[in-house]
Protein backbone atom coordinates (compact mmCIF):
# COMPACT_ATOMS: atom_id res chain seq x y z
CA UNK A 1 0.00 0.00 0.00
CA UNK A 2 2.83 2.43 0.68
CA UNK A 3 3.97 4.58 -2.15
CA UNK A 4 7.61 3.76 -1.49
CA UNK A 5 6.88 0.40 -3.02
CA UNK A 6 6.31 1.98 -6.40
CA UNK A 7 9.23 4.31 -6.82
CA UNK A 8 12.15 1.99 -7.14
CA UNK A 9 15.00 3.37 -5.08
CA UNK A 10 18.65 2.88 -5.77
CA UNK A 11 19.20 -0.72 -6.78
CA UNK A 12 20.42 -3.02 -4.10
CA UNK A 13 22.26 -4.87 -6.83
CA UNK A 14 25.44 -2.83 -6.86
CA UNK A 15 26.39 -3.97 -3.39
CA UNK A 16 25.71 -7.57 -4.11
CA UNK A 17 27.54 -8.11 -7.38
CA UNK A 18 30.94 -8.13 -5.71
CA UNK A 19 30.95 -11.79 -4.63
CA UNK A 20 33.61 -13.39 -6.80
CA UNK A 21 32.52 -16.99 -6.36
CA UNK A 22 29.61 -16.36 -8.65
CA UNK A 23 31.82 -15.41 -11.58
CA UNK A 24 31.42 -18.87 -13.07
CA UNK A 25 27.67 -18.73 -12.73
CA UNK A 26 27.43 -15.37 -14.40
CA UNK A 27 27.47 -16.43 -18.07
CA UNK A 28 24.98 -19.15 -17.22
CA UNK A 29 22.66 -16.58 -15.71
CA UNK A 30 22.89 -14.35 -18.75
CA UNK A 31 22.02 -17.36 -20.89
CA UNK A 32 18.94 -18.06 -18.77
CA UNK A 33 17.80 -14.45 -18.95
CA UNK A 34 18.56 -14.40 -22.67
CA UNK A 35 16.52 -17.53 -23.38
CA UNK A 36 13.63 -15.99 -21.51
CA UNK A 37 13.99 -12.83 -23.57
CA UNK A 38 13.77 -14.91 -26.74
CA UNK A 39 10.70 -16.84 -25.58
CA UNK A 40 8.96 -13.62 -24.60
CA UNK A 41 9.77 -11.66 -27.72
CA UNK A 42 10.27 -14.16 -30.53
CA UNK A 43 6.57 -15.00 -30.99
CA UNK A 44 5.93 -11.29 -31.56
CA UNK A 45 8.84 -10.96 -33.97
CA UNK A 46 7.68 -14.14 -35.71
CA UNK A 47 4.24 -12.60 -36.20
CA UNK A 48 5.85 -9.48 -37.62
CA UNK A 49 7.84 -11.49 -40.18
CA UNK A 50 4.83 -13.70 -40.89
CA UNK A 51 2.78 -10.65 -41.77
CA UNK A 52 5.19 -9.80 -44.63
CA UNK A 53 5.37 -13.27 -46.15
CA UNK A 54 3.52 -14.87 -49.03
CA UNK A 55 1.28 -17.86 -48.42
CA UNK A 56 3.89 -20.13 -49.99
CA UNK A 57 6.60 -18.93 -47.65
CA UNK A 58 4.35 -19.35 -44.62
CA UNK A 59 3.31 -22.86 -45.54
CA UNK A 60 6.74 -24.04 -46.60
CA UNK A 61 7.86 -24.69 -43.05
CA UNK A 62 10.47 -21.98 -42.65
CA UNK A 63 9.71 -20.89 -39.13
CA UNK A 64 12.91 -18.93 -38.86
CA UNK A 65 13.42 -16.87 -41.97
CA UNK A 66 13.03 -13.40 -43.34
CA UNK A 67 10.48 -12.87 -46.11
CA UNK A 68 12.27 -13.03 -49.47
CA UNK A 69 10.28 -10.06 -50.68
CA UNK A 70 8.58 -7.97 -48.01
CA UNK A 71 4.91 -8.22 -48.95
CA UNK A 72 3.53 -4.83 -48.08
CA UNK A 73 0.46 -5.89 -50.08
CA UNK A 74 -0.57 -8.00 -47.09
CA UNK A 75 -1.17 -4.79 -45.20
CA UNK A 76 -3.12 -3.12 -47.95
CA UNK A 77 -5.17 -6.33 -48.34
CA UNK A 78 -5.87 -6.35 -44.60
CA UNK A 79 -6.82 -2.69 -44.51
CA UNK A 80 -9.03 -3.00 -47.58
CA UNK A 81 -10.91 -6.10 -46.51
CA UNK A 82 -11.26 -5.22 -42.83
CA UNK A 83 -12.54 -1.98 -41.43
CA UNK A 84 -9.30 -1.21 -39.64
CA UNK A 85 -9.68 2.56 -39.51
CA UNK A 86 -13.26 2.32 -38.33
CA UNK A 87 -12.33 -0.12 -35.52
CA UNK A 88 -9.43 2.11 -34.56
CA UNK A 89 -11.67 5.16 -34.47
CA UNK A 90 -14.27 3.35 -32.37
CA UNK A 91 -11.65 2.21 -29.91
CA UNK A 92 -10.22 5.71 -29.68
CA UNK A 93 -13.67 7.14 -29.08
CA UNK A 94 -14.74 4.61 -26.45
CA UNK A 95 -11.40 4.66 -24.63
CA UNK A 96 -11.04 8.43 -24.51
CA UNK A 97 -14.59 9.03 -23.27
CA UNK A 98 -14.11 6.35 -20.63
CA UNK A 99 -10.77 7.78 -19.59
CA UNK A 100 -12.06 11.34 -19.24
CA UNK A 101 -15.12 10.23 -17.28
CA UNK A 102 -13.14 7.97 -14.97
CA UNK A 103 -10.71 10.76 -14.14
CA UNK A 104 -13.40 13.32 -13.40
CA UNK A 105 -15.67 11.01 -11.41
CA UNK A 106 -12.92 9.27 -9.48
CA UNK A 107 -11.10 12.52 -8.69
CA UNK A 108 -14.28 14.12 -7.36
CA UNK A 109 -15.03 11.09 -5.21
CA UNK A 110 -11.47 10.70 -3.97
CA UNK A 111 -11.38 14.40 -3.07
CA UNK A 112 -14.56 14.09 -1.03
CA UNK A 113 -13.42 10.89 0.64
CA UNK A 114 -10.05 12.22 1.73
CA UNK A 115 -10.54 15.96 2.27
CA UNK A 116 -14.09 16.60 3.51
CA UNK A 117 -14.94 16.49 7.19
CA UNK A 118 -17.66 13.83 7.25
CA UNK A 119 -18.20 10.47 8.83
CA UNK A 120 -18.67 8.16 5.92
CA UNK A 121 -15.54 8.69 3.86
CA UNK A 122 -13.93 5.41 4.88
CA UNK A 123 -17.19 3.57 4.37
CA UNK A 124 -17.41 4.74 0.77
CA UNK A 125 -13.81 3.71 0.23
CA UNK A 126 -14.62 0.28 1.64
CA UNK A 127 -17.49 -0.03 -0.80
CA UNK A 128 -15.05 0.46 -3.66
CA UNK A 129 -12.60 -1.99 -2.11
CA UNK A 130 -15.30 -4.64 -2.00
CA UNK A 131 -15.97 -4.11 -5.67
CA UNK A 132 -12.38 -4.91 -6.59
CA UNK A 133 -12.90 -8.49 -5.47
CA UNK A 134 -15.95 -9.04 -7.65
CA UNK A 135 -15.28 -10.85 -10.91
CA UNK A 136 -16.64 -8.57 -13.57
CA UNK A 137 -17.69 -11.39 -15.86
CA UNK A 138 -20.50 -12.19 -13.48
CA UNK A 139 -22.09 -8.82 -14.27
CA UNK A 140 -22.15 -9.59 -17.98
CA UNK A 141 -25.53 -11.26 -18.17
CA UNK A 142 -27.47 -8.94 -15.83
CA UNK A 143 -25.93 -5.93 -17.58
CA UNK A 144 -27.07 -7.31 -20.90
CA UNK A 145 -30.62 -7.62 -19.59
CA UNK A 146 -30.55 -4.15 -18.03
CA UNK A 147 -29.17 -2.58 -21.21
CA UNK A 148 -31.71 -4.39 -23.32
CA UNK A 149 -34.47 -2.90 -21.20
CA UNK A 150 -32.87 0.53 -21.43
CA UNK A 151 -32.67 -0.03 -25.18
CA UNK A 152 -28.99 0.86 -25.36
CA UNK A 153 -27.67 -2.56 -26.33
CA UNK A 154 -25.49 -2.35 -29.43
CA UNK A 155 -24.47 1.26 -28.79
CA UNK A 156 -21.14 2.58 -27.58
CA UNK A 157 -22.88 3.76 -24.44
CA UNK A 158 -23.43 0.12 -23.42
CA UNK A 159 -19.65 -0.27 -23.39
CA UNK A 160 -18.67 3.08 -21.95
CA UNK A 161 -20.96 2.86 -18.90
CA UNK A 162 -19.65 -0.47 -17.57
CA UNK A 163 -16.09 0.43 -18.55
CA UNK A 164 -16.30 3.53 -16.37
CA UNK A 165 -17.84 1.55 -13.53
CA UNK A 166 -15.19 -1.19 -13.71
CA UNK A 167 -12.32 1.29 -13.67
CA UNK A 168 -13.57 3.44 -10.81
CA UNK A 169 -12.57 1.29 -7.79
CA UNK A 170 -8.88 1.12 -8.61
CA UNK A 171 -8.86 4.76 -9.75
CA UNK A 172 -10.53 6.02 -6.57
CA UNK A 173 -8.03 3.97 -4.59
CA UNK A 174 -4.98 5.35 -6.34
CA UNK A 175 -6.24 8.93 -6.25
CA UNK A 176 -7.36 8.88 -2.63
CA UNK A 177 -4.09 7.27 -1.60
CA UNK A 178 -2.32 10.27 -3.07
CA UNK A 179 -4.72 12.99 -1.98
CA UNK A 180 -4.69 11.79 1.62
CA UNK A 181 -1.05 12.82 1.87
CA UNK A 182 -1.50 16.42 0.69
CA UNK A 183 -0.97 18.73 3.69
CA UNK A 184 -4.10 20.39 5.06
CA UNK A 185 -2.43 23.80 5.32
CA UNK A 186 -3.04 24.16 1.60
CA UNK A 187 -6.79 24.24 2.05
CA UNK A 188 -6.56 26.38 5.18
CA UNK A 189 -4.77 29.14 3.35
CA UNK A 190 -7.03 28.76 0.34
CA UNK A 191 -10.10 29.20 2.53
CA UNK A 192 -8.57 32.35 4.06
CA UNK A 193 -8.08 33.62 0.54
CA UNK A 194 -11.78 33.06 -0.02
CA UNK A 195 -11.65 30.09 -2.34
CA UNK A 196 -14.69 27.81 -2.51
CA UNK A 197 -14.66 24.03 -2.37
CA UNK A 198 -14.87 23.56 -6.09
CA UNK A 199 -12.19 26.14 -6.67
CA UNK A 200 -9.88 24.36 -4.22
CA UNK A 201 -10.51 21.11 -6.05
CA UNK A 202 -9.94 22.47 -9.51
CA UNK A 203 -7.10 24.92 -8.97
CA UNK A 204 -5.15 23.28 -6.16
CA UNK A 205 -5.81 19.58 -5.62
CA UNK A 206 -6.22 18.58 -9.24
CA UNK A 207 -2.96 20.13 -10.48
CA UNK A 208 -1.02 18.56 -7.60
CA UNK A 209 -2.55 15.17 -8.37
CA UNK A 210 -1.22 14.89 -11.90
CA UNK A 211 1.09 11.90 -11.15
CA UNK A 212 -1.67 9.58 -9.88
CA UNK A 213 -3.96 10.83 -12.63
CA UNK A 214 -1.37 9.71 -15.17
CA UNK A 215 -1.32 6.29 -13.49
CA UNK A 216 -5.11 6.12 -13.70
CA UNK A 217 -4.97 7.10 -17.37
CA UNK A 218 -2.48 4.34 -18.14
CA UNK A 219 -4.41 1.63 -16.32
CA UNK A 220 -7.66 2.71 -17.94
CA UNK A 221 -6.09 2.85 -21.36
CA UNK A 222 -4.53 -0.61 -21.18
CA UNK A 223 -7.64 -2.25 -19.71
CA UNK A 224 -10.25 -0.61 -21.89
CA UNK A 225 -8.33 -0.50 -25.13
CA UNK A 226 -7.80 -4.25 -24.92
CA UNK A 227 -11.25 -5.22 -23.64
CA UNK A 228 -12.83 -7.90 -25.75
CA UNK A 229 -15.61 -9.87 -24.07
CA UNK A 230 -17.98 -6.99 -23.28
CA UNK A 231 -17.55 -5.56 -26.74
CA UNK A 232 -18.18 -8.94 -28.36
CA UNK A 233 -21.29 -9.45 -26.22
CA UNK A 234 -22.95 -6.05 -26.35
CA UNK A 235 -22.05 -4.89 -29.84
CA UNK A 236 -23.35 -6.49 -33.00
CA UNK A 237 -23.11 -3.78 -35.66
CA UNK A 238 -20.03 -3.95 -37.82
CA UNK A 239 -19.66 -0.18 -37.74
CA UNK A 240 -19.55 -0.03 -33.92
CA UNK A 241 -16.93 -2.72 -33.29
CA UNK A 242 -13.88 -1.81 -31.27
CA UNK A 243 -10.40 -2.85 -32.35
CA UNK A 244 -10.01 -6.15 -30.42
CA UNK A 245 -13.48 -7.30 -31.42
CA UNK A 246 -12.98 -6.18 -35.00
CA UNK A 247 -9.60 -7.88 -35.25
CA UNK A 248 -11.04 -11.09 -33.86
CA UNK A 249 -13.97 -11.22 -36.23
CA UNK A 250 -11.78 -10.36 -39.21
CA UNK A 251 -9.22 -12.99 -38.35
CA UNK A 252 -11.82 -15.69 -37.72
CA UNK A 253 -13.65 -15.04 -40.98
CA UNK A 254 -10.84 -14.25 -43.37
CA UNK A 255 -8.94 -17.42 -44.03
CA UNK A 256 -7.51 -17.23 -47.53
CA UNK A 257 -4.53 -15.02 -47.08
CA UNK A 258 -2.36 -15.93 -44.06
CA UNK A 259 -0.10 -12.95 -44.50
CA UNK A 260 -3.03 -10.55 -44.42
CA UNK A 261 -4.29 -12.13 -41.19
CA UNK A 262 -0.86 -11.64 -39.70
CA UNK A 263 -0.86 -8.06 -40.95
CA UNK A 264 -4.21 -7.40 -39.31
CA UNK A 265 -2.95 -8.79 -36.01
CA UNK A 266 0.12 -6.59 -36.21
CA UNK A 267 -2.09 -3.60 -36.98
CA UNK A 268 -4.24 -4.55 -34.00
CA UNK A 269 -1.24 -4.63 -31.70
CA UNK A 270 0.46 -1.59 -33.19
CA UNK A 271 -1.25 1.29 -31.30
CA UNK A 272 -0.44 -0.19 -27.90
CA UNK A 273 3.10 -1.11 -28.91
CA UNK A 274 3.81 2.40 -30.20
CA UNK A 275 2.53 3.89 -26.96
CA UNK A 276 4.56 1.37 -24.98
CA UNK A 277 7.73 2.35 -26.81
CA UNK A 278 7.12 6.00 -26.06
CA UNK A 279 6.07 5.61 -22.44
CA UNK A 280 7.36 2.22 -21.33
CA UNK A 281 8.69 3.39 -17.98
CA UNK A 282 5.52 5.24 -17.07
CA UNK A 283 3.41 2.29 -18.13
CA UNK A 284 5.36 -0.28 -16.14
CA UNK A 285 5.30 2.01 -13.09
CA UNK A 286 1.60 2.61 -13.53
CA UNK A 287 0.86 -1.10 -13.83
CA UNK A 288 2.86 -1.87 -10.69
CA UNK A 289 1.05 0.91 -8.86
CA UNK A 290 -2.25 -0.54 -10.03
CA UNK A 291 -1.29 -4.01 -8.87
CA UNK A 292 0.09 -2.88 -5.54
CA UNK A 293 -2.92 -0.73 -4.70
CA UNK A 294 -5.29 -3.41 -5.82
Amino acid sequence: MSRTAITATKPAATVRTSGSRFSVAKPLIYIVLGILLVTQLYPLLWLFLYSFKTNDEILSGSFFSLPSVWQIENYSAAIESGNYWRYLGNSLFVTSITMASVIVLAALAAFAITRFRWKYGQLVLLLFLLGMMIPLQSTLLPLMIIFKNMDILNTHLSLILPYIAFQTPISVFILSGFMKAIPHEIEESAIIDGAGVFRIFRSIILPISVPPIVTVCILTFINIWNEYILAATFISSEKLKTLPFGVNSFVSQYSVNYGAIGAFLVLGALPVIVIYFLLSERITKGMVAGAVKG
Binding site: A5, K10, P11, A12, A13, V15, R16, R21, I29, L33, L36, T39, Q40, P43, L44, L47, Y50, I58, L59, G61, F63, L105, L108, T114, F116, R117, W118, M133, I134, P135, Q137, T139, L140, L141, P142, I145, I146, F166, T168, E187, I191, W225, Y228, T233, P244, V247, N248, V251, Y258, G262, L265, G268, A269, V272, Y276, T284, M287, A291, V292, G294
Partner: protein, 297 residues
Protein backbone atom coordinates in the same frame (compact mmCIF):
# COMPACT_ATOMS: atom_id res chain seq x y z
CA UNK B 1 -8.19 16.35 10.68
CA UNK B 2 -9.86 17.40 7.46
CA UNK B 3 -10.53 21.10 7.32
CA UNK B 4 -13.19 21.30 4.64
CA UNK B 5 -16.59 21.54 6.27
CA UNK B 6 -19.17 21.36 3.54
CA UNK B 7 -22.89 20.89 3.23
CA UNK B 8 -24.52 17.55 2.55
CA UNK B 9 -25.37 18.74 -0.93
CA UNK B 10 -21.76 19.45 -1.76
CA UNK B 11 -20.71 16.02 -0.54
CA UNK B 12 -23.46 14.46 -2.61
CA UNK B 13 -22.39 16.40 -5.69
CA UNK B 14 -18.83 15.11 -5.36
CA UNK B 15 -19.47 11.52 -4.34
CA UNK B 16 -22.81 10.49 -5.78
CA UNK B 17 -22.09 10.50 -9.53
CA UNK B 18 -19.26 8.05 -9.03
CA UNK B 19 -20.94 5.92 -6.39
CA UNK B 20 -24.28 5.69 -8.18
CA UNK B 21 -22.73 4.66 -11.46
CA UNK B 22 -20.56 2.15 -9.70
CA UNK B 23 -23.27 0.65 -7.50
CA UNK B 24 -25.73 0.66 -10.37
CA UNK B 25 -23.43 -1.13 -12.77
CA UNK B 26 -21.56 -3.48 -10.44
CA UNK B 27 -23.54 -4.20 -7.29
CA UNK B 28 -27.05 -4.07 -8.69
CA UNK B 29 -26.16 -6.51 -11.51
CA UNK B 30 -24.62 -8.91 -8.98
CA UNK B 31 -27.81 -8.81 -6.92
CA UNK B 32 -29.92 -9.23 -10.05
CA UNK B 33 -27.73 -12.18 -10.89
CA UNK B 34 -28.21 -13.79 -7.47
CA UNK B 35 -31.94 -13.35 -7.83
CA UNK B 36 -32.18 -14.65 -11.39
CA UNK B 37 -30.14 -17.66 -10.32
CA UNK B 38 -33.34 -18.79 -8.66
CA UNK B 39 -35.42 -18.46 -11.82
CA UNK B 40 -36.11 -20.68 -14.75
CA UNK B 41 -35.90 -18.00 -17.39
CA UNK B 42 -34.79 -17.60 -20.97
CA UNK B 43 -34.47 -13.83 -20.73
CA UNK B 44 -37.54 -12.89 -22.71
CA UNK B 45 -40.67 -14.78 -21.71
CA UNK B 46 -42.18 -15.49 -18.33
CA UNK B 47 -39.98 -16.79 -15.57
CA UNK B 48 -40.78 -19.29 -12.89
CA UNK B 49 -39.27 -19.19 -9.43
CA UNK B 50 -37.47 -22.46 -8.87
CA UNK B 51 -35.61 -21.65 -5.61
CA UNK B 52 -32.30 -23.50 -5.50
CA UNK B 53 -32.98 -25.94 -8.31
CA UNK B 54 -30.42 -24.31 -10.57
CA UNK B 55 -27.72 -24.66 -7.94
CA UNK B 56 -28.73 -28.22 -7.29
CA UNK B 57 -28.50 -29.04 -10.97
CA UNK B 58 -25.17 -27.24 -11.22
CA UNK B 59 -23.60 -29.10 -8.32
CA UNK B 60 -25.03 -32.56 -8.96
CA UNK B 61 -26.14 -33.14 -12.55
CA UNK B 62 -24.21 -30.79 -14.84
CA UNK B 63 -21.46 -32.94 -16.34
CA UNK B 64 -19.55 -29.93 -17.64
CA UNK B 65 -19.50 -27.98 -14.39
CA UNK B 66 -17.04 -29.82 -12.15
CA UNK B 67 -14.47 -30.48 -14.88
CA UNK B 68 -14.68 -26.74 -15.65
CA UNK B 69 -14.07 -25.95 -11.97
CA UNK B 70 -11.15 -28.36 -12.03
CA UNK B 71 -9.62 -26.66 -15.07
CA UNK B 72 -10.03 -23.27 -13.46
CA UNK B 73 -7.99 -24.45 -10.50
CA UNK B 74 -5.55 -26.14 -12.86
CA UNK B 75 -4.93 -22.73 -14.42
CA UNK B 76 -4.41 -21.18 -10.99
CA UNK B 77 -2.20 -24.07 -9.89
CA UNK B 78 0.11 -23.84 -12.89
CA UNK B 79 0.36 -20.12 -12.47
CA UNK B 80 1.27 -20.39 -8.80
CA UNK B 81 3.62 -23.33 -9.03
CA UNK B 82 5.45 -22.39 -12.22
CA UNK B 83 4.86 -18.80 -13.20
CA UNK B 84 5.25 -17.10 -9.82
CA UNK B 85 8.35 -18.98 -8.58
CA UNK B 86 9.97 -18.48 -11.99
CA UNK B 87 9.13 -14.78 -11.85
CA UNK B 88 10.65 -14.48 -8.39
CA UNK B 89 13.78 -16.38 -9.43
CA UNK B 90 14.19 -14.20 -12.51
CA UNK B 91 13.68 -10.99 -10.54
CA UNK B 92 16.35 -11.98 -8.05
CA UNK B 93 18.74 -12.79 -10.90
CA UNK B 94 18.02 -9.51 -12.65
CA UNK B 95 18.41 -7.38 -9.57
CA UNK B 96 21.70 -9.03 -8.73
CA UNK B 97 23.41 -9.46 -12.08
CA UNK B 98 21.98 -6.91 -14.48
CA UNK B 99 23.23 -3.38 -14.19
CA UNK B 100 20.66 -1.73 -16.46
CA UNK B 101 17.58 -3.86 -15.87
CA UNK B 102 14.99 -1.56 -17.48
CA UNK B 103 15.32 -2.89 -21.01
CA UNK B 104 15.09 -6.49 -19.89
CA UNK B 105 12.13 -5.98 -17.58
CA UNK B 106 10.16 -3.94 -20.09
CA UNK B 107 10.83 -6.50 -22.82
CA UNK B 108 9.55 -9.31 -20.62
CA UNK B 109 6.54 -7.13 -19.93
CA UNK B 110 5.61 -6.44 -23.54
CA UNK B 111 3.11 -9.33 -23.98
CA UNK B 112 1.17 -8.12 -20.93
CA UNK B 113 -0.09 -4.97 -22.58
CA UNK B 114 -1.31 -6.66 -25.75
CA UNK B 115 -4.95 -7.45 -26.24
CA UNK B 116 -6.04 -10.98 -25.51
CA UNK B 117 -7.31 -11.11 -29.08
CA UNK B 118 -3.87 -10.47 -30.53
CA UNK B 119 -2.25 -12.91 -28.10
CA UNK B 120 -4.90 -15.58 -28.63
CA UNK B 121 -4.90 -15.35 -32.41
CA UNK B 122 -1.12 -15.19 -32.53
CA UNK B 123 -0.82 -18.40 -30.52
CA UNK B 124 -3.55 -20.05 -32.52
CA UNK B 125 -1.35 -19.43 -35.53
CA UNK B 126 1.71 -20.70 -33.66
CA UNK B 127 -0.16 -23.89 -32.75
CA UNK B 128 -1.37 -24.48 -36.32
CA UNK B 129 -0.29 -27.64 -38.14
CA UNK B 130 3.08 -27.18 -39.81
CA UNK B 131 1.45 -27.35 -43.22
CA UNK B 132 -0.61 -24.31 -42.24
CA UNK B 133 2.39 -22.34 -41.06
CA UNK B 134 2.31 -23.21 -37.36
CA UNK B 135 5.64 -22.38 -35.72
CA UNK B 136 5.82 -25.08 -33.04
CA UNK B 137 5.04 -27.97 -35.36
CA UNK B 138 7.46 -26.61 -37.95
CA UNK B 139 10.21 -26.45 -35.33
CA UNK B 140 9.48 -30.02 -34.25
CA UNK B 141 9.53 -31.21 -37.85
CA UNK B 142 12.78 -29.40 -38.54
CA UNK B 143 14.61 -30.94 -35.61
CA UNK B 144 13.29 -34.40 -36.45
CA UNK B 145 10.70 -34.78 -33.74
CA UNK B 146 7.79 -35.29 -36.07
CA UNK B 147 6.21 -37.76 -33.69
CA UNK B 148 5.87 -34.91 -31.18
CA UNK B 149 3.78 -32.75 -33.47
CA UNK B 150 0.21 -32.30 -32.42
CA UNK B 151 -2.87 -30.51 -33.42
CA UNK B 152 -2.46 -28.63 -30.18
CA UNK B 153 -5.80 -26.93 -29.84
CA UNK B 154 -8.09 -29.64 -31.17
CA UNK B 155 -6.89 -32.65 -29.21
CA UNK B 156 -9.07 -32.69 -26.08
CA UNK B 157 -6.36 -33.87 -23.70
CA UNK B 158 -3.75 -31.36 -24.82
CA UNK B 159 -5.81 -28.27 -25.62
CA UNK B 160 -6.15 -26.97 -22.07
CA UNK B 161 -2.40 -27.22 -21.52
CA UNK B 162 -1.76 -25.41 -24.78
CA UNK B 163 -3.93 -22.60 -23.44
CA UNK B 164 -2.26 -22.65 -20.03
CA UNK B 165 1.11 -22.17 -21.73
CA UNK B 166 -0.21 -19.02 -23.41
CA UNK B 167 -1.53 -17.66 -20.11
CA UNK B 168 1.78 -18.34 -18.39
CA UNK B 169 3.66 -16.77 -21.28
CA UNK B 170 1.57 -13.61 -21.41
CA UNK B 171 1.57 -12.75 -17.72
CA UNK B 172 5.04 -13.93 -16.71
CA UNK B 173 6.33 -10.43 -17.42
CA UNK B 174 3.71 -8.88 -15.18
CA UNK B 175 4.80 -10.97 -12.21
CA UNK B 176 8.47 -10.37 -12.98
CA UNK B 177 7.80 -6.63 -12.99
CA UNK B 178 5.88 -6.70 -9.71
CA UNK B 179 8.38 -8.88 -7.89
CA UNK B 180 11.40 -7.15 -9.37
CA UNK B 181 10.05 -3.87 -7.99
CA UNK B 182 9.63 -5.63 -4.66
CA UNK B 183 13.18 -6.99 -4.63
CA UNK B 184 14.57 -3.57 -5.60
CA UNK B 185 12.82 -1.97 -2.67
CA UNK B 186 14.49 -4.14 -0.07
CA UNK B 187 16.97 -1.70 1.47
CA UNK B 188 20.56 -2.36 0.42
CA UNK B 189 21.94 -1.89 3.94
CA UNK B 190 20.17 -5.04 5.12
CA UNK B 191 22.23 -7.03 2.66
CA UNK B 192 25.37 -5.23 3.74
CA UNK B 193 24.68 -6.04 7.37
CA UNK B 194 23.96 -9.65 6.48
CA UNK B 195 27.20 -9.85 4.55
CA UNK B 196 29.16 -8.83 7.62
CA UNK B 197 27.37 -11.60 9.47
CA UNK B 198 28.43 -14.03 6.77
CA UNK B 199 25.19 -14.31 4.80
CA UNK B 200 25.88 -13.71 1.15
CA UNK B 201 24.52 -14.74 -2.23
CA UNK B 202 21.74 -17.25 -2.16
CA UNK B 203 21.96 -17.55 1.61
CA UNK B 204 21.04 -13.89 1.82
CA UNK B 205 18.12 -14.57 -0.51
CA UNK B 206 16.88 -17.36 1.74
CA UNK B 207 16.96 -15.26 4.91
CA UNK B 208 16.35 -11.75 3.60
CA UNK B 209 14.81 -11.65 0.15
CA UNK B 210 12.21 -14.38 0.64
CA UNK B 211 10.77 -13.14 3.96
CA UNK B 212 10.84 -9.52 2.83
CA UNK B 213 9.18 -10.19 -0.49
CA UNK B 214 6.14 -11.87 1.11
CA UNK B 215 3.79 -8.85 0.92
CA UNK B 216 4.62 -8.31 -2.76
CA UNK B 217 4.45 -12.01 -3.49
CA UNK B 218 0.97 -11.99 -2.00
CA UNK B 219 -0.09 -9.42 -4.59
CA UNK B 220 1.15 -11.73 -7.32
CA UNK B 221 -0.71 -14.67 -5.81
CA UNK B 222 -3.98 -12.74 -5.55
CA UNK B 223 -3.62 -11.42 -9.10
CA UNK B 224 -2.82 -14.82 -10.51
CA UNK B 225 -5.61 -16.55 -8.63
CA UNK B 226 -8.30 -14.01 -9.42
CA UNK B 227 -6.94 -13.81 -12.95
CA UNK B 228 -7.26 -17.58 -13.37
CA UNK B 229 -10.81 -17.57 -12.02
CA UNK B 230 -11.81 -14.86 -14.44
CA UNK B 231 -9.68 -15.80 -17.40
CA UNK B 232 -11.87 -16.92 -20.15
CA UNK B 233 -11.42 -14.29 -22.79
CA UNK B 234 -8.30 -16.13 -23.93
CA UNK B 235 -10.22 -19.38 -24.03
CA UNK B 236 -13.10 -17.80 -25.94
CA UNK B 237 -10.67 -16.42 -28.51
CA UNK B 238 -8.61 -19.58 -28.88
CA UNK B 239 -11.03 -22.50 -28.61
CA UNK B 240 -14.42 -21.22 -27.47
CA UNK B 241 -14.25 -23.89 -24.77
CA UNK B 242 -13.85 -26.67 -27.29
CA UNK B 243 -13.17 -29.24 -28.58
CA UNK B 244 -16.41 -30.38 -26.98
CA UNK B 245 -16.08 -28.89 -23.53
CA UNK B 246 -12.46 -29.84 -23.14
CA UNK B 247 -11.21 -26.33 -22.40
CA UNK B 248 -14.19 -24.90 -20.56
CA UNK B 249 -13.55 -23.09 -17.28
CA UNK B 250 -16.17 -21.75 -14.86
CA UNK B 251 -16.44 -18.39 -16.58
CA UNK B 252 -16.62 -19.75 -20.12
CA UNK B 253 -19.24 -22.28 -19.06
CA UNK B 254 -21.25 -19.45 -17.57
CA UNK B 255 -20.87 -17.40 -20.73
CA UNK B 256 -21.94 -20.24 -22.98
CA UNK B 257 -24.90 -21.17 -20.80
CA UNK B 258 -26.23 -17.66 -20.35
CA UNK B 259 -25.28 -15.64 -23.40
CA UNK B 260 -25.13 -18.31 -26.06
CA UNK B 261 -27.71 -20.85 -24.85
CA UNK B 262 -29.99 -18.21 -23.31
CA UNK B 263 -30.43 -20.17 -20.09
CA UNK B 264 -30.35 -16.99 -18.08
CA UNK B 265 -31.39 -18.50 -14.77
CA UNK B 266 -28.84 -21.27 -14.91
CA UNK B 267 -26.09 -18.99 -16.19
CA UNK B 268 -26.77 -16.67 -13.26
CA UNK B 269 -26.35 -19.57 -10.87
CA UNK B 270 -22.87 -20.22 -12.27
CA UNK B 271 -22.11 -16.49 -12.12
CA UNK B 272 -23.14 -16.43 -8.46
CA UNK B 273 -20.89 -19.41 -7.80
CA UNK B 274 -18.02 -17.54 -9.45
CA UNK B 275 -18.53 -14.46 -7.28
CA UNK B 276 -18.64 -16.62 -4.17
CA UNK B 277 -15.44 -18.48 -5.07
CA UNK B 278 -13.67 -15.19 -5.79
CA UNK B 279 -14.65 -13.67 -2.45
CA UNK B 280 -13.78 -16.81 -0.50
CA UNK B 281 -10.46 -17.21 -2.29
CA UNK B 282 -9.48 -13.60 -1.59
CA UNK B 283 -10.29 -14.04 2.09
CA UNK B 284 -8.35 -17.31 2.34
CA UNK B 285 -5.29 -15.95 0.53
CA UNK B 286 -5.26 -12.88 2.76
CA UNK B 287 -5.61 -15.04 5.86
CA UNK B 288 -2.77 -17.36 4.86
CA UNK B 289 -0.44 -14.53 4.02
CA UNK B 290 -1.22 -12.67 7.23
CA UNK B 291 -0.11 -15.74 9.15
CA UNK B 292 2.96 -16.13 6.99
CA UNK B 293 3.76 -12.47 7.45
CA UNK B 294 3.45 -12.69 11.23
CA UNK B 295 5.72 -15.69 11.32
CA UNK B 296 8.52 -13.78 9.64
CA UNK B 297 8.19 -10.28 11.09
Amino acid sequence: MNVLKVSKWTIAAFVLPCVLLYVGLVFVPILVSVYSAMLDWNGIGASTFVRLDNFKYMLTSDTVFWPAVGRTFLLAGFSMLIQLPLALFVSILISRYVRKPNFLVSSYFLPVILSVVVIGQLWKTIYNPGSMGGMINQILETIGLESWTHSWLTEPKIAIFAIIVVGLWQYLGYHILIQFTGVQNIPADIYEAAKIDGADGFKADRYITLPMIIPIFKISVVLSFIGSLQSFDLIMVMTGGGPGNATDVIASHMYKMSILSQKFGYGSAIATFLVAVCLIATVIINFLFNRLDKKYT
